[in-house]
């Protein structure tokens, strides 16, 4: 587990809603936190090097850009090759999340890949491509489309103790 100090936590809290859209955003954050611009840039660089920050970037709204069909594809893949196959599937440019997860008595699938497309036909075509890539190591698969968003909140670092 990566240890974060108080300054790291304040920096995360100050930037998790996004960077200010001003010419010198890091100086702006520094002024709020009582740090120098160089300290903010240095800390953020360190957090990025440690993997706490994956990247500083823009997240497009894929619905707004026409990617309105989204399905959670799930695959029952032989355990001994699941890691290798997961890496291959995660690297596809239409897979937004790819995880290995445990099976359960009511659930045989261990590889999860979120698929996106302009419509369900496009998503199904991508699913077919994955099926071909996985080959005989995949014993079964399914796809779960979301029918409703029941709740959606941002993931936030919480202050204070757990209740």
């Amino acid at each position: 587990m990566t240890r974060l100090d108080d300054t790291d936590r304040r920096l995360i809290a100050a930037t998790q809603a996004g960077l200010p859209l001003v010419q010198a955003p890091y100086a702006c954050i520094a002024a709020d936190l009582g740090l120098t611009e160089a300290q903010v840039i240095d800390r953020l660089s360190q957090l990025q090097a440690r993997g706490v920050i994956r990247r500083i970037a823009l997240a497009p709204n894929h619905y707004a850009l026409g990617m309105t069909a989204n399905g959670m594809s799930v695959w029952d893949v032989e355990d001994k090759v699941a890691g290798t196959l997961g890496e291959m599937i995660g690297a596809l440019d239409f897979v937004s999340h790819c995880y290995l997860r445990p099976r359960a008595p009511v659930w045989r699938y261990n590889l999860f890949a979120m698929l996106h497309g302009k419509n369900r036909t496009e998503v199904e075509n991508k699913r077919t491509r994955i099926r071909a890539l996985l080959g005989p190591a995949c014993l079964a698969d399914d796809i779960l489309y979301s029918t409703r968003i029941l709740k959606k909140t941002g993931l936030r670092l919480r202050d204070g103790q757990e209740r």
């Binding site: 010198a24 957090l47 823009l58 619905y63 890691g83 997860r101 009511v106 399914d142």
Partner: protein, 160 residues
């Protein structure tokens, strides 16, 4: 969090420069004193022009976020994908019970025997089990837990 726009923008809402911004800045953003100037230079825009366009892209809902993406687990939190098999007549009542927990970050109805999928986010790993047990006690249903065992590199980019 603002309501997530779930419909498409008309194609004419974005010009070539907007599309270049959306495609390029998904890859990364500089950690320099004048990052908009630096990022703009590769796009043929001044820093001020880039900022104005980003503001507009945010206003029309083309961007959901702009800034650092944190690895929540590296920050010390715990996460777990969970699923329930909810009898259809009870669905809304159970959804309300599940959503009432602050630890439930998002929750989706899905087309499957396991028809409710949600993510628990807690400050500690113990918090996951505790919350799952509470939900089981309240709903009388088994909370199936699917923690990630391994995450794979993601090549996903939306082409604008």
């Amino acid at each position: 969090m603002k309501n997530l726009r779930r419909h498409s923008l008309p194609p004419e809402a974005l010009d070539t420069a907007d599309r270049a911004i959306l495609n390029t800045l998904q890859e990364g953003f500089p950690l320099t004193p004048r990052p908009f100037d630096d990022a703009g230079a590769t796009l043929g825009l001044t820093g001020a022009q880039l900022i104005t366009r980003l503001q507009r892209l945010r206003e029309i809902g083309a961007i959901t976020r702009f800034g650092p993406f944190f690895d929540a687990e590296a920050m010390g939190g715990a996460f777990c994908l969970c699923a329930l098999s909810v009898p259809e007549p009870d669905f809304d009542r159970i959804a309300a019970l599940v959503n009432a927990h602050a630890e439930v970050a998002h929750n989706y109805a899905r087309d499957h025997a396991l028809n409710m999928w949600f993510v628990l986010a807690t400050p500690t790993p113990e918090g996951i089990a505790r919350t799952a047990h509470r939900i089981e006690a309240e709903t009388g249903l088994t909370v199936w837990q699917f923690p990630k065992l391994r995450e794979f590199f993601i090549g996903f980019r939306v082409t604008a």
